[in-house]
Symmetry: C2
DNA sequence: TACGATACTTTATGCTGTAAGGAGTGGCAA
DNA sequence: TTGCCACTCCTTACAGCATAAAGTATCGTA
């Protein structure tokens, strides 16, 4: 896709009325729409409205919605940092920083998680993004064949956690109820409809402690229980994963 | 949601014409539609067509599309196995079996991955599913506080890999091109549009070897390159993660 | 000045979920 | 037996979606 790799400065003088818009402006507006209302709110009309023109006007600059989404995807990735400095033996700290930045990024732009990876976008933004991760990972000294699955696993963890956090934040807006109200109503309904709960799911009850029955535990009051739990999963899961990478390094006789 | 926990055998005799449909039949038909055409093809009219009735007839049995999706989600989870036998010290094998079954399940029903987790469904199917995983994990002897993030991380890995595999399988149907054609066209385009590729992304080139330039490596010919890579990520990523769990067990002075 | 390319609009088509209202069915009380 | 009415299912309608097609306004250039 030539649009992805186009040079924004190359402008040809052509007959006809001056363009009132630009691909850049359209992509930015589309990102703003998707950030505010999610992928579901991203319609050509909505983007056009933000730019004070009809939805059809966009088709002059962009072939269709699919291509616009590709452009949004690649452009948004550009806001991520590129360098994670540090010595080779500090790869773990760098990787944790990378993961936190990337997770926060996906939470900021949850619609990114709904872009199909069926045919990777292959734009400069995605390449830059993967190059950054590869740079950090190659400090471990592991071979490409070992690192490649680690790349995928890290991405799955980061994206999964970001998805959960984003879902938790959207929930009140979508369902119209706050978490504690919903939680209270559901647990009461559950006790009514499945009175033998503790007997049917003993291990689950053990695993979650009393969470399903009592109110959310104290913590950062600005975060929902779901989000707190998702962040715990992120930090602890990342630590477990990196422990596994260290095991692989030990097996390969690396420091 | 009482519909989720309803007893299918409890039938009340009521006036009026005999119902020609049932919630079960509708949910099954909806699952079949979504399996065949993805979440995008799941419309009330499409489900009605499969049952030889209008889309509006479904509203007699189900309050709306959202509730139907919840029912589909919970019912589909019922087809997963519940028991993963073995001694306590064979938890690793059991967990790998669980992960493979679950990944294959999500690949069979990719629409499951698009069901929002904003407000968990809380039906019997989901509880059974999580109880199964908890049963396998508690064999490690680790404490709930340690295991809970492992549950989340495992789910993220399995779902992420399944998503990638499902995307790879859908790609030809959606884009109309086979993987090798698409790959060939894109790499030619890439070389044209970014001639300095190897200089701009040196570490990425190192990480992927010559993948971006040569044809897919030999392997199971029935699988696409993308899917092969996704399966490698799954197996190797799972191994790394379980190595990390073993590290945690060693720290806790467990066998 | 006239041409023709470009920018943008309006209109139309066929999808979507679902609200509203109408027609037919059949168990039960009178 | 008759009438009632809860119930099932249908048709119609509406707003919103992507986008194809056609029409109009603008402006560099011959």
């Amino acid at each position: 896709m030539a649009l992805l790799w186009r040079d924004p400065n190359a402008e040809a003088v052509r007959p006809g009325p001056k363009p009132g818009l630009s691909v850049e402006a359209i992509v930015d507006a589309a990102i703003a729409v998707a950030d505010a209302g999610g992928m579901a709110a991203l319609s050509m009309r909505a983007v056009g409205e933000r730019l004070s023109c009809s939805g059809m006007a966009l088709y002059t600059y962009v072939p269709g919605k699919a291509e616009l989404i590709d452009l949004m995807y690649d452009r948004a990735l550009g806001e991520l940092p590129v360098h994670y400095p540090g010595e080779d033996d500090e790869w773990r700290e760098a990787l944790i920083s990378w993961a936190r930045d990337t997770c926060a990024f996906y939470v900021r732009h949850p619609w990114m998680l709904q872009v199909s990876q069926a045919r990777p976008v292959l734009g400069p933004g995605e390449h830059r993004f993967l190059e950054t991760l590869a740079c950090v990972l190659c400090r471990t000294g592991l071979r490409p064949a070992v690192l490649r699955p680690v790349v995928g696993t890290l991405l799955h963890l980061v994206r999964g956690c970001a998805q959960t956090i984003a879902d938790a934040r959207w929930a009140p807006a979508v369902t119209g109820t706050f978490e504690h109200e919903w939680w209270y109503a559901r647990s009461r309904l559950l006790a009514e409809v499945a009175p033998d709960y503790a007997a049917r799911y003993p291990v689950l009850v053990w695993l979650h402690g009393e969470d399903l029955e009592e109110s959310p535990p104290p913590g950062d009051a600005s975060l929902t229980y779901q989000e707190t739990e998702a962040r715990r999963t992120f930090e602890a899961g990342l630590a477990v994963l990196l422990d596994g990478v260290e095991t692989a390094m030990r097996r390969a006789d690396l420091p």
